[in-house]
């Protein structure tokens, strides 16, 4: 596929990795923000192409992972409501709430539909005027324009039976929260490229300035990531902390003005609780008052929700870049994608799920547990 295959060339990747090795003189810790980037890094073994001085830590950039358990339980309560058609992206189906996941609720009779696009959920509402269609609107800034468009379009088409359960999260406040923590280890960021296609680069300039960290907006293919790492390492070695754009084929400095306008019309910034991390002030989107008729949180009263998280799970520390999946005693044992204990295992883009999918739990076992047998 054009604009995909050419960015997966092995010898080009080697050239970039060699250049990184020639550039680096001391240890650096770099965080890739987005879960899609984590997935590419582990899938292609990009972390293993790098010199030992460059450590990649995996950020909380997977919206499925960081959706709070309270919100998931709320979604499940609404999905079980009589007459509701509950629509969700496929990634959310297997995420366990306190009692079940969406697939289990479906098997118990709830009408749960996987949609490719929020706009498909709007069409479902038009096709089923006597049913209440609820869309679970999760995501970072990348997903905010399509979700906002769905709400805007439903209002324009007077589809009063369409509503959204909003659990949007925002990248810049999360980066500020990580950098402000006393135990922070992150010295540079690979910025989430698709978030930047929408919002542009301007929000990152004050963060780079305040904390003196390089932030390089980076794409999702192997060559994108290696070039993003190279540009971050070059800045670190030169003592610079600036915003750069590796992903210029998709990211304009101003983002997408039409998308930013629609987001501002439909959403307002709110405080948001992140699974594994906790409450981050001004780190989410909620529907504006003008769209209250489409706000599932107001339309469906849900009883008090009490949640319980695993005490073994270290996903909070992984999401902050303090630990790796291997550091967790439950990783690959009682915690797996089939039986996830916490945020980083619930979606394929979580760091633990990515490590598991590409067999890294087996490697750690081999190294730690298998007896050494002499080769005869």
């Amino acid at each position: 596929m054009k604009f995909v295959d050419e960015y997966r060339d092995g010898s080009a990747a080697r050239t970039l990795a060699d250049t990184i090795a020639r550039t680096v003189t001391r240890p650096w810790t770099i965080m890739e923000v987005c879960g899609g980037q984590t997935h590419t890094i582990v899938k292609y073994g990009i972390d293993r192409l790098l010199p030992k001085e460059v450590e990649l830590v995996h950020g909380p950039g997977c919206p499925v992972c960081v959706t709070s358990l309270e919100m998931i339980d709320r979604a499940h309560a609404i999905a079980s409501w009589p007459g509701v058609i509950f629509c969700s992206f496929g990634d959310m189906l297997r995420v366990p709430g306190s009692r079940a996941d969406l697939l289990q609720l479906k098997s118990q009779g709830a009408d749960i539909r996987v949609v490719y696009s929020p706009l498909d959920a709007v069409n479902l509402a038009a096709a089923h005027p006597n049913r209440k269609v609820v869309f679970f609107a999760i995501g970072f800034e990348t997903t905010a324009p399509p979700n906002a468009m769905a709400v805007w379009l439903a209002r324009k088409r007077k589809l009063r039976n369409f509503s959204v359960l909003v659990s949007h999260v925002l990248v810049p406040p999360m980066m500020t929260a990580l950098l402000s923590a006393p135990d922070n280890r992150v010295q540079g960021f690979l910025g989430a490229g698709h978030v930047c296609t929408v919002m542009g680069l301007s929000e990152y300039v004050p963060i780079a300035k305040q904390f003196g960290v390089p932030i390089v907006a980076t794409g999702f293919e192997p060559l994108d990531l290696l070039e993003g790492i190279l540009r971050t390492v070059q800045q670190l070695e030169e003592g610079r902390g600036e915003v750069e754009n590796q992903y210029a084929r998709a990211v304009r400095p101003e983002g997408n003005p039409a998308s930013r306008q629609l987001i501002a019309d439909v959403f307002e910034v709110c405080d948001r609780k992140w699974r594994g991390v906790g409450l981050i002030s001004q780190s989410g989107f909620a529907l504006r008052e003008e769209y209250r008729d489409h706000d599932a949180e107001r339309l469906f009263e849900v009883d008090h929700i009490e949640t319980h998280e695993s005490s073994v799970c270290i996903s909070g520390q992984i999401l902050k870049g303090l630990k790796k999946p291997h550091d967790c005693p439950a990783f690959g044992k009682e915690c797996s994608p089939q039986t996830p204990l916490g945020a980083t295992m619930v979606s394929s883009e979580g760091a633990c799920a990515a490590y598991f999918a590409y067999g890294r739990h087996l490697e750690s076992r081999t190294a730690r547990e298998l007896p050494l047998v002499p080769v005869v």
Binding site: M1, K2, F3, V4, E6, Y7, A12, T15, L16, D18, T19, C34, G35, G36, G61, C62, P63, V64, F89, D91, Y116, S117, P118, L119, D120, I138, G139, F140, T142, T143, P145, P146, M149, L153, K156, R157, A192, G193, H194, V195, T197, V198, F220, L223, D224, E227, A248, R249, A250, V251, R252, N256, A258, S259, L262, S347, E349
Partner: protein, 83 residues
């Protein structure tokens, strides 16, 4: 989750007063909302996330990394060349 796939616009039309189009992802066709890339022409590439085009792909910028790689290769050859 923030998956963005590049695809080629093969058709545009309006539906409920919103710009829509048919986009070719290496042989798989999907209907996509093009409302936020209003200037897009048939044959151009857009980056699509959950049925919504986020941006047009800039073809000139897309080749920049290969120019850098060529430079790096030449640099590598110079460094490896015997004195």
């Amino acid at each position: 989750m923030c998956l963005g796939i590049p695809g080629k616009v093969t058709e545009t039309y309006r539906e409920h007063d919103v710009l829509m189009g048919k986009v070719d992802f290496g042989g798989v066709f999907k209907r996509v909302c093009l409302e936020h890339v209003p200037e897009v022409q048939i044959g151009e590439y857009v980056l699509v996330h959950v049925g919504f085009a986020l941006t047009r792909i800039d073809e000139a910028e897309a080749t920049r990394v290969f120019a850098l790689l060529k430079e790096l290769d030449q640099l590598g050859e110079l460094e490896e060349a015997p004195p």
